[in-house]
Structures are given as C-alpha cells and as structure tokens.
Symmetry: C2
Subunit: 169 residues, 2 copies
C-alpha cells in the first residue's frame, strides 16, 4: 500500500511500452499450465506410470516390459521389428528390453522360419507363469484407475478423446 508499490512502472508513465518487460496483456496471454493439453497429459501419464511401478515393485516390471509381454502373450511369434514399431519403441531400446527379458528367462528370440535374419519372439514357460501373475496385479491397478475416472463409460470417453489427439490429420 506504499507509494513504491502503487506507483505505475516507468514505462507506463512515459506512455510507451518497453519491449524487455512483460505487460499485463502479455501476462494475461500466458496460459496457466493446468489448461495446457500436453502438460496435463504428461502429469496424468506420470501419475499412472508411478502407480503402475509401485504396483509392480515386487515383480520388478516396467510399463514398456508389460506391453511387450502382453503382445507376446496375445500374438506369439511376432518379429522384433513388428512389436517395436507397433509399440513405438526405438530399435536400440527394444533390443535392450528384450535382452533383459531373456536374461530373466521370461522370453526368447527364435530364428523366424520365413526370414533367417529376423527373430520371432515367444514367452518361455516361466514367462507364461509370470504373465498370469502380471495380469492379476495389472487388473487391480487398472480397476483403481477406472474407479477414479467414474467407471468404464468415462474410461471409454477418455480413450476416445485420446484417439482424437493421435489421429492423423
């Protein structure tokens, strides 16, 4: 309430805007982060991944590994390149991920019948048992999220909106 705080800034007194100071109009044009689509998607994704990682602490499973094991379980025999591309995982990262699953005895690369240069991916018997436990843990995690959203209809609505975001122009 002192003169110092109520006095208008120098630029306003002189009647010409300074280019190196933000005006009230500039500041009004800067959105709160809470309204920014990318920022909100990132925060929600981090929240869900954190919950996922905590759910899988004992099984030591990360979201990308879950995705790869799910695809191998549903469609055994796909090639490395096919799964990597479908999941949007870079080749080098995918190789490291498969190396890790092989070391843990959960998955294996087999020479593909049709193309000796590429490998098809399969669960091992231990991988099959792991996937059964994984699905039980995952179901509890996902059900919590669906409940937070308000139910399966709201989940479907969210996924429909996310479809629109990634749709090709």
């Amino acid at each position: 309430m002192s003169d110092a705080t109520t006095r208008p800034p120098e630029a306003a007194k002189r009647g010409r805007p300074r280019l190196d100071e933000l005006t009230a109009t500039d500041v009004e044009g800067i959105p709160a982060l809470e309204t920014i689509i990318g920022y909100r998607l990132r925060r929600a994704q981090l929240y869900v991944f954190q919950d996922f990682i905590e759910s899988f602490t004992r099984m030591k499973l990360r979201p990308a590994e879950f995705s790869v094991l799910s695809v191998m379980a549903r469609r055994p025999g796909l090639k490395q390149t096919e799964i990597a591309e479908e999941l949007g995982i870079k080749r080098a990262n995918f190789v490291a991920l498969m190396d890790s699953l092989e070391r843990r005895g959960l998955a294996e690369r087999r020479k593909a019948d049709t193309d000796k240069r590429s490998h098809s991916l399969h669960l091992t018997p231990e991988g099959v048992r792991f996937v059964r436990k994984m699905m039980a843990v995952w179901t509890a995690h996902e059900e919590r999220l669906v409940e937070k959203l308000g139910g399966p209809k709201e989940r479907d609505r969210l996924i429909e909106l996310l479809d629109r975001v990634v749709a090709r122009d």
Copy 2:
C-alpha cells in the same frame, strides 16, 4: 489344415491344463493395449510432445523449459524449489534446466531477499522477448490440438477426465 495344426495340444488331450502354456481363457483376459489407460496416455503424450518439439525446432525449446519459462513470466521471483515442486521436476534435473536457460541468457537466479540460501528466478530482458515469441508458436500448436479434439469443450472435457486420474484418493 494338416493334422499337425488341427490336432488338439497334448494338455487338452490329457484333460488337464498345463501351467506353462497360456489357455484360450488366459489370452482372452489379456487386454489389447488400445484399451489400457496408461498405454493410451503415454502414446498421446508422446504425440503431443513430438508436435511441440517440431513446432519449436528453430527456437530449440523443450516442453519442460516452456513450463519453467511460463511460470517465471506469470509469477516472477518464485524460488527454485517452489517451481520445481509445482512442476514435478526432480531437483537435479531442474538445476540442469536452469543452468541451460541461464547460459542462453533467458533467465537468472537472484539471491532471495528473505532467505540468502535460496534463489528466486526471473526472466532477463532477452528472456522476455523470447517468451513473447514462444507464446505465438505455442498458441498455433495448441490450437491445432484443440481443433483435433473437436473444440474447446472437448478440450475441457479431456482435462476434467485427466483431473480425475491424478486426484488424490
């Protein structure tokens, strides 16, 4: 169509399930990735960040830097720890990010009046000019996304659903 492919697996013939093979029921219980909330959030977030990064190729700006500059513009003088916590950025990552913004001459740390040990963050005059350009580029990026979603109402609906995801239980 040969006998080899139509013959039931050994386990089914013997009438007891094998624990190291997935049954049809197991496989039915494994969700398609397209229906998984975390997977869909991640894909949408990567899409939006990729579009952001392409929009800002010339200005060499990453999403986290955009967030920090926005907060400094709207609320100059916040402390490092306050901004880092608000944005959910780890301390070490935040320090590296601020170092980079300082090297580019866009922002500066000033000793806080109230606590000599902490720093308050401010845009430099060059940072102010940068933020004005940044907002113009960002607005075009965000408008494309809102259009893809179907308009501001759908954007608000998406953000409301994301609110629910991250809400405390």
